[in-house]
Symmetry: C2
């Protein structure tokens, strides 16, 4: 999916919501455990219930990997199901990969060929040759970690060099020369929304993937206020607050209502700031 298509979807659905498929076998409703593939059944129901209100899905790879081969089967089924039934959804592999060039090339093959994801989250520590193999696929995206939503973000991401430049700022500035606003997005945590204004001076046109709204406590209003650009430029993720809104047989309907609530707030913010 290219940038124009993504923006068109945001306008049409009046939403910039991404639903995070952090599907944990220990948290899904008990009645699903009798199914042949409980993780896929859960995802399918969540997707059917929420697709109207969101523009992206983000399976968190760790949740699938932790189940071994069965988990990868569930992921494959989920990706295919979304591709076949909701072709306008932007698919994010939240994998946080990154390795030397010849190895990153294989990770790119994994997510863009073996699976048909639109994008993959990538860690910047190993620099250009660890990121660029992902950038060579047309209409596919790298979503590079810049400023993450967790407490550990303060350990290294705020380290400051002699030019008063923080590590995450250096990541933004340096990586801009590797790609452009048509193949490179950044992860910026909603828990650091006050930093968004300054981040927008560095990367005015790139899309930002913003986790941390919902269970992690970030404010959607602040994210929109400080982070929105002329093409929205935001994909805000919510995982737990939507997919685990309820754990009875009514879970999908509850997820739908949560997603709708977020979409309604987003619709207002799009009117206000766009």
């Amino acid at each position: 999916m290219n940038r124009e298509e993504l923006f068109a979807n945001i306008q049409r659905k009046k939403s910039f919501l991404c639903v995070g498929l952090d599907t944990d076998i220990k948290k899904i409703p008990l009645h699903l455990l009798d199914c042949e593939n409980p993780i896929f059944e859960f995802n399918k129901a969540i997707v059917d219930a929420t697709a109207e209100y969101c523009i992206a899905y983000k399976p968190n790879l760790a949740f699938y990997e932790s189940l071994g081969i069965e988990g990868w089967k569930s992921l494959e089924l989920t990706v295919k199901y979304i591709r076949n039934n909701y072709p306008d959804q932007f698919l994010i592999a939240d994998a946080k990969r990154g390795d030397i060039g010849n190895t990153s090339q294989l990770y790119a093959r994994a997510f863009f060929e073996a699976f048909d994801f639109d994008s993959v989250t990538v860690a910047p520590y190993m620099g250009e040759d660890s990121v660029s193999p992902f950038l060579s696929y047309p209409n596919k995206w790298v979503i590079l970690l810049a400023l993450t939503s967790n407490k550990g973000a303060f350990d290294f991401q705020f380290m400051e060099n002699k030019l008063d430049e923080k590590l995450f700022e250096k990541v933004l500035k340096t990586s801009k020369t590797w790609g452009n606003e048509d193949n490179l997005m950044y992860v910026v945590g909603a828990t650091k929304a006050d930093m968004l204004q300054q981040i927008r001076t560095l990367v005015p046109d790139n899309f930002l993937l913003v986790p941390g709204v919902g269970a992690q406590g970030g404010s959607l209003e602040d994210v929109a206020k400080f982070g929105m650009n002329r093409q929205c430029g935001l994909i805000v993720n919510s995982s737990r607050a939507i997919i685990y809104a309820d754990n009875t047989e009514n879970f999908a309907q509850a997820a739908r209502l949560e997603a709708q609530k977020v979409q309604q707030a987003m619709s207002q913010l799009l009117t206000q700031y766009l």
Copy 2:
């Protein structure tokens, strides 16, 4: 495996060689493609041929992921085969994972429970809570990226703060407070062997996993000279130079000879520096 056992294996085998299982379906001998599981057959033959001369195996996860579910099956068979037949081998999942706390916990479950790896490589960018879930498993290890062997290492790892401290040095110093020499190793590329002396002043007792000898051009002699400590403290990886020494039906024997050559050099270096 704990540190004493690892050191005992190094002494007994007079080797600190890790064989990297970067098994690429496009590079293995053609006659294997007729087998039911060519990747596993290749790995099995390589392991049988080299186990006498090495103390560790390091499957590079990207190579398996790029093949989808079939790749994960090959990885599972490989890990089980090594565990069952060569229980003294230290198993490294070269995965370069790292995410927010609750997600890293699931990656730890993936590599230490779904698979029975001894250790996993982890990227430091997201800080303490992205690393610590891996440290809570007894006799399991985090191998944290510090200074990598690739060109992109210069993009961020050498960024210097106002105390003249480089990012990779800050990673070493900060992470020492998260774990200790019994559960934390570091990746330091052989292509930066001249930095090892100074790195040893920061982490004198931790094991270092050293990639970059062989195809990437690092010098084994320099690594030993500058990096060895009283318990060896080094695991030196070679992948392509060993496993692709030959691509005829004679590949395993050729890999064996390459591994033996490295082991003989290591035996001399252990005598010289230990």
